[in-house]
């Protein structure tokens, strides 16, 4: 059986020390993998895949800020759009070329949005933005196995302002190389 249980540390020990358990904040989520068989009554879930995968040997990445489009790491978007702009296309293509020629290189595409509107819709929109870059990279020769996608929605803004200048910079996909 390849089913793996992801179990979470229970804060019962903490709670037991308090007359009012609600006063105690929950323990941080920690992962532990426990192999199970089908007869186990414990919960079954697909294996957790930590985002911060172990660093691979000499995982290559291009130098930031050098080599034109390959030195760029961010692709920007219009409001409520996931269409890769003319600004973004050469950047996606350049990194796809790098991935195609460096089989050990891996990237995480991180989708982000500006502060306006629904948090959950923005989380989905950020995911779609990152997927749009993944599609372009895949069409330009990168293997989908080299590309991980995640969205932060509007939860991790790079700029804290409440104007279009800040919003424009927050509507973006960042290309982050593993081990970079």
């Amino acid at each position: 059986m390849n089913k793996i249980v992801l179990s979470i540390l229970v804060a019962a020990a903490l709670a037991a020390c308090s007359s009012d358990p609600k006063k105690e904040a929950a323990a941080p989520v920690t992962e532990s993998k426990v192999a199970t068989d089908s007869s186990s009554s414990s919960s079954k879930m697909p294996e957790a895949k930590p985002l911060t995968a172990p660093m691979e040997d000499a995982s290559p990445f291009p130098v930031k800020g050098q080599g034109g489009a390959l030195g760029e790491r961010s692709i920007y978007y219009a409001f409520d759009s996931y269409v890769v702009s003319d600004q973004g296309k050469p950047i996606a293509a350049a990194h796809a070329g790098f991935l195609a020629s460096h089989a050990k290189a891996k990237v995480i595409l991180q989708g982000n949005c500006d502060e306006r509107g629904s948090r959950e819709y923005n989380l989905a929109l950020g995911s779609r933005r990152a997927e749009s870059v993944k599609s372009l990279m895949s069409a330009s020769g990168a293997s989908v196995n080299q590309i991980e996608v995640v969205s932060f929605g509007k939860e991790k803004p790079m700029m804290d302002g409440h104007d279009e200048a800040s919003w424009q910079k927050n509507r973006r996909v960042d290309i982050v190389y593993q081990g970079e």
Partner: protein
């Protein structure tokens, strides 16, 4: 003629009630006819660690529906209806008088007796005796306020309920729970990573939410009395937007494990494989069960812009519910299922809108610029949402008739993602 003059006379009343050091509250009532009440101090309550009547009075005044008449100078304080000079209270326009008394029992418990008297008919509308431990006096006061509110308005009070919300202070995120009057605030989760979408289980014992603790969004269910947590959705990509089924057994969640955000249902223990609600090439998210559990409302951009749709819980054809505007998101239904509240973009503003699902009539519920995450109080009377004032995250309340408005803010940091707990 006098009536029509009053129709055009808008009274804007600002009442600032210091709730506690952290949260400040501002109430605005517009053009509202308030019910005058005489709520007297309870006899002997000065002997208690926590006086009862000020909590009851604050609860009822916060609704914006009641006005306290001048009750100063009453001596001795009456504890029986027979001791009341009701003609005096009628002269002060009071429609009802609330009196009470407290005593400390030999076992240390506090006995509270209260009477609500109709000032016109002189009938006792409500008489009750309750006995509580000294550390449960606030809860007892909220229960009395609930009973008085229900007797006077015919609808359930929500003073004994709790609210949850996220506070972001610098790099720290906290999920907190407080009484509906913002007292008894406690942190149930602290993290350096974002927390969004807290949702109370229908019985109020568990909280589902989205945590980024492992650097990407996962759905967790936390037992509120033990603090024990369980990851119920941890698939490739994003796991988010939990919503409880009315029986508390299942959750609707949004997963992007197949590339694009789609809605699935899972069991609340996270044991079974997720069931995909439908397959589209568009963003589908923010699923929420209808009160009868038979349908799910959600946000989708399948028509080219985000709009709100409804689909049977076993799948099938989706029905579009919103037609005006190019950005309608975050649907929530009133407890009777008849009204839809959501966020609509109007020019540069994102505002709370209320839609009558029988007539499809729309009402703008806010004049803010950046509203989000609206939901109904469990009695359907209030809409709770997050907004921004001068760039700072605050919580806001508006009555479902649009006439009473309140705002909550913290001194430090932003407060957002409010969720109102169920009736106790």
């Amino acid at each position: 003629m006098i009536r029509s003059v009053f129709l055009f006379f808008y009274l804007v009343l600002f009442v600032t009630i210091p709730v506690q050091a952290e949260l400040s509250l501002e109430i605005t009532t517009e053009g509202l006819k308030q019910i005058p009440l005489a709520m007297l101090p309870f006899a002997s309550e000065r002997d208690l660690t926590t006086a009862i009547s000020p909590i009851i009075i604050a609860d009822l005044q916060r609704t914006g529906l009641f006005r306290q008449v001048d009750v100063s100078g009453v001596n001795p304080l009456p504890s029986e209806a027979s001791q009341l000079k009701l003609a005096d209270w009628r002269a002060k326009q009071a429609t009802a008088v609330l009196i009470g008394s407290t005593s400390i029992e030999h076992d240390g418990k506090i006995k509270i007796r209260y009477v609500l008297v109709d000032a016109t008919t002189e009938q006792e509308k409500l008489t009750e005796v309750i006995s509580v431990a000294p550390n449960q006096l606030r809860g007892a006061a909220h229960r009395i306020a609930d009973a008085v509110y229900e007797k006077l308005t015919g609808e359930k009070g929500v003073f004994s309920t709790k609210i949850a919300y996220v506070v972001k202070d610098g790099p720290n995120f906290q999920l907190r729970v407080a009484d509906a009057d913002a007292y008894n605030e406690r942190t149930i989760l602290s993290s350096k990573e974002p927390i969004i979408s807290p949702k109370w289980s229908p019985d109020g014992t568990r909280m589902a939410y989205v945590t980024f603790e492992l650097k990407r969004p996962l759905v967790v269910v936390q037992n509120l009395s033990t603090g024990a947590r369980k990851v119920v959705a941890n698939f490739r990509g994003n796991n988010s937007a939990p919503a409880w089924s009315p029986d508390g057994k299942r959750l609707a969640v949004t997963l992007s494990r197949d590339g694009i955000a789609q809605i699935y249902t899972i069991d609340a223990e996270g044991q079974e494989q997720p069931r995909r609600l439908m397959t589209t090439r568009a963003i589908d998210t923010e699923g929420v069960f209808t009160p009868d559990g038979k349908s799910i409302l959600f946000t989708s951009d399948r028509g080219g812009s985000p709009q709100i749709y409804k689909i049977p819980v076993e799948g099938g054809n989706a029905q579009r519910l919103t037609f005006t505007g190019n950005y309608n998101v975050s649907p929530r239904l009133s407890p009777d299922g008849k009204k839809l509240v959501f966020i609509q973009q109007n020019g540069a503003a994102f505002r709370v809108m209320l839609q009558d699902l029988d007539t499809n009539q729309l009402q703008n519920m806010s004049d803010n610029a950046l509203d989000e995450s609206p939901s109904f109080s469990p009695n359907g009377r209030m809409i709770l949402y997050a907004s921004k004032v001068n760039g700072k995250g605050v919580l806001a309340l508006v009555s479902a008739d649009g006439r009473v408005r309140q705002k909550f803010s913290t001194q430090a940091g932003d407060v957002y993602e409010p969720a109102w707990g169920p009736l106790q």
